[in-house]
Amino acid sequence: MKLLTAERIRLLVPSMSLAVLLVAVFWLQPRTMSYTGLNLLFNLAVPIALATVAQMLIMMVNDLDLSMGTFVSFVACVTATWVQTDPLIGFAILAACIGVYALIGALIYLRNLPSIVVTLGMSFVWGGLAVLLLPAPGGVAPDWIRAIMTVKPPFAPMAIVASIGIALVAHWLVMRSSLGVVLRGVGGNERTVERAGWSVLRARATAYALAGFFAVLAGMCLVGLTTSADANIALRYTLLSIAGVILGGGEFVGGRVSPIGAVIGALTLTLAASLLSFLKISPDWQIGAQGAILIIVLAVRLLLNRSEARGTGQ
């Protein structure tokens, strides 16, 4: 057994970058090294982590979801309005949304469409629906979601417990379960899966539906944290989620994904923004600096992968 397999390297880099950022933040601002501090640092990472897992499920089958941000915004609007006033209708809408995701997955496969185009189109649909629902920022988070998001577990703050929980559930679902193997197989070699007698259509629809489910959770968590919603509340989630997956060791094609890595990637991205604030970098430069951090991490991973490839030398 080798100690440094490709899979472990894939997890090593995001974990190291999170650790480095965390140490830097603690050093710059020691007061973050507390229960409340950690919760404040990371609580906005919970919905991002869920959206990243959702994006990862789509990237697992070699597609890309450019509607993630507007979809999470739409879900947030539904949660702050219908779920709060008429829970039954609200949940029906959210369930229908997951169904729509499954349909999109099926459509993309059946008509052999580029997922980027379809989801880009869908992003306008979700965005439009969100504006129809909440033309101006408003709505109220249902109390029970609010309660869940502000719960104070012993030992570790909610943000940390939730992130670990999301990572474990996603890891079990994607990496350990027998269903997850088939779904990853679709990303790795669709023909093999088909020749083994599986329905690729069903597998892809399942992957999309699961992604829809995690994205719905992301929207609901977000409202629980912000207490109200806005049609543009989560627009940056599209790129954040893609960056999170890549940062966490996932790849655009080939079904190579890492759920734990994706969650760590989401935490890293959130922390990078905080670090830049602590460094008193003006917001004008923050997005550029965030990009620079991303490039550095990816460069390190590339170097490690190369040395690994040279090591096996096949």
Partner: protein, 485 residues
């Protein structure tokens, strides 16, 4: 025979056409339990199409199919698997991102629920050890970390594993192509054991020695038909080769090219100790033959790259390339015919970095006449043309360039016979004018048009045939190895 006298699978009068190409033209084929059937034939004989029909991937245009003696209306992959039919395909088909254990899970529906991982690991490990003792494969690692030979071993072992219902028939398409002699021997021994225990195997291989020694019966295909179906004992290597290429074609008279031999090479490729060297001289029409995927395209790409320069130092354009896969490597699908044709000519027809439209129109109009592209207007999009005419445009693109050597990667795929003959004539005229052509083709009559033919097997040149030596039989016997590697 354990299943009575019913064949595991049988097809009668199967026909399948892809456009104008008759891949299968009325084929009868059946396999009984306890039988190992060899299936041989040259490129395009219809072997792969037949296998796809057996495993439910394709449905025949006409003909009947029966599983275990019962006629089947609509065959499917799931149905084929349910009666215990497995295929190992020539191109490796495992999921590279999954571990060996996980690939076993993909192959078996029933491996699910609590503890599936352990059961899958045991299943594949036992089978690997049974077929290939001392293989040293760690089933917890992902496929991308294994060598080609190990991947092939894993794929073969996966096909023979059974979780629910037994494995009745395994189709092995070139299973030994990347195994060394020892491993190939282990596999063939296992195949005999499997058959002796009542299983059935269809073995497709280019190594005639192993087909003759392992199988009970050999089916020879040619041009979509079964041309021979006899017990293996009645065949010898010579009679097999004879059966594969029995039709004698009248060769078109070709001008003697003895003079060419004295000229210096325009292009050469030295093989690093494996097989023969490659040399091309001015005015030659050189064929690359052999079974598909035995290194011909690799050679063309190597030749092109050697002359291609790099992005820093663009090469003096000595070679032009005609791609075979039009949709992937050839067409610029959004462009007009004119632009598709002139793209290699741009340095000649540009002035101060701007394309001289008048010169472009002049040159392409000239080629429009010379190669007779069937279109009213050369400004139409390239995709408005038929496949054959698109290919003509790609030929014109290469021929219009000043390059003295043209490499062709099986460019006539899916081209109708009329267009082919026009192109052949064009090639001969260009060759007479001193241009060199290196032509990889999977079709025998195209290879027979050449002045000199290199036959490829397993990535190396195994034979060089000149002039009158070029015959279907010589090429076939060189492409199929006589003995197991």
């Amino acid at each position: 025979m354990t299943q009575g006298d019913n064949p595991v699978i049988s097809v009668n009068g199967a026909r399948k056409s892809f456009g104008a190409v008759h891949a299968l033209d009325g084929v009868d084929f059946s396999v009984r339990a306890g039988e190992c059937v060899g299936l041989v034939g040259h490129n395009g004989a219809g072997k792969s199409t037949l296998v796809s029909i057996l495993n439910g991937g394709l449905s025949p245009d006409s003909g009947t199919l029966a599983l275990l003696g019962r006629p089947v209306e609509r065959h499917s992959i799931a149905q084929a698997r349910s009666i215990g039919l497995r295929c190992v395909f020539q191109e490796l088909s495992l999921c590279p991102n999954l571990t060996v254990t996980e690939n076993t899970r993909v192959a078996h529906r029933s491996l699910r629920g609590f503890g599936w991982r352990g059961r899958a690991a045991r299943l594949i490990k036992d089978k690997l050890d049974e077929i290939f003792p001392d293989n040293g494969i760690d089933v917890g690692r992902s496929i991308s970390g294994f060598s080609i030979a190990q991947r092939q071993m894993i794929e073969i072992a996966t096909a023979f594993t059974s979780s629910d219902g037994s494995v009745r028939l395994v189709v092995l398409d070139e299973p030994t192509s990347s195994l060394d002699a020892g491993l190939a021997g282990q596999l063939l021994t296992f195949v005999r054991r499997f058959v002796a225990a009542g299983g059935a195997v269809v073995l497709i291989s280019h190594i005639l020695g192993e087909v003759l020694s392992t199988t009970d019966r050999i089916v020879v295909m040619k041009d979509g038909k079964v041309v021979a179906d006899r017990p293996s004992a009645e065949f010898s290597t010579e009679s097999l080769v004879g059966a594969m290429g029995s039709v004698v074609r009248a060769r078109e008279a070709r001008a003697a090219r003895d003079a060419a031999a004295s000229q210096t090479a325009v292009l050469s490729h030295t093989s690093a100790g494996r097989g023969l060297d490659f040399v091309a001289r001015p005015g030659e029409l050189i064929g690359l033959a052999g079974l598909a995927g035995h290194g011909q395209t690799r050679m063309l790409v190597d030749l092109y790259m050697a002359e291609g320069g790099s992005w820093r130092t663009p090469a003096a354009r000595k070679v032009a390339f005609v791609a075979g896969d039009r949709a992937v490597d050839g067409n610029l699908p959004l462009w007009s015919i004119v632009k598709n044709m002139s793209v290699t000519l741009l340095p000649e027809i540009a002035r101060f970095g701007l394309v001289d439209r008048a010169a472009e129109a002049r040159v392409t109009a000239d080629w429009h006449k010379r190669i007779a592209v069937r279109t009213e207007n050369m400004d139409n999009p390239i995709l408005s043309l038929s496949g054959g005419n698109q290919q003509k445009v790609l030929f014109a693109r290469a021929l219009a360039s000043p390059a003295p050597v043209v490499l062709m990667d099986d460019p006539m795929r899916g081209v109708d016979i009329g267009t082919k003959h026009e192109v052949y004539a064009m090639l001969r005229a260009e060759a007479a004018a001193g241009r060199t052509f290196v032509w990889y083709s999977t079709e025998m009559d195209e290879v027979c048009q050449c002045d000199r033919v290199y036959v490829f097997r397993e990535g190396e040149i195994v034979a060089e045939l000149v002039g009158n030596e070029i015959s279907e039989e010589r090429i076939l016997s060189a492409s199929f190895a006589e003995k197991a590697a």
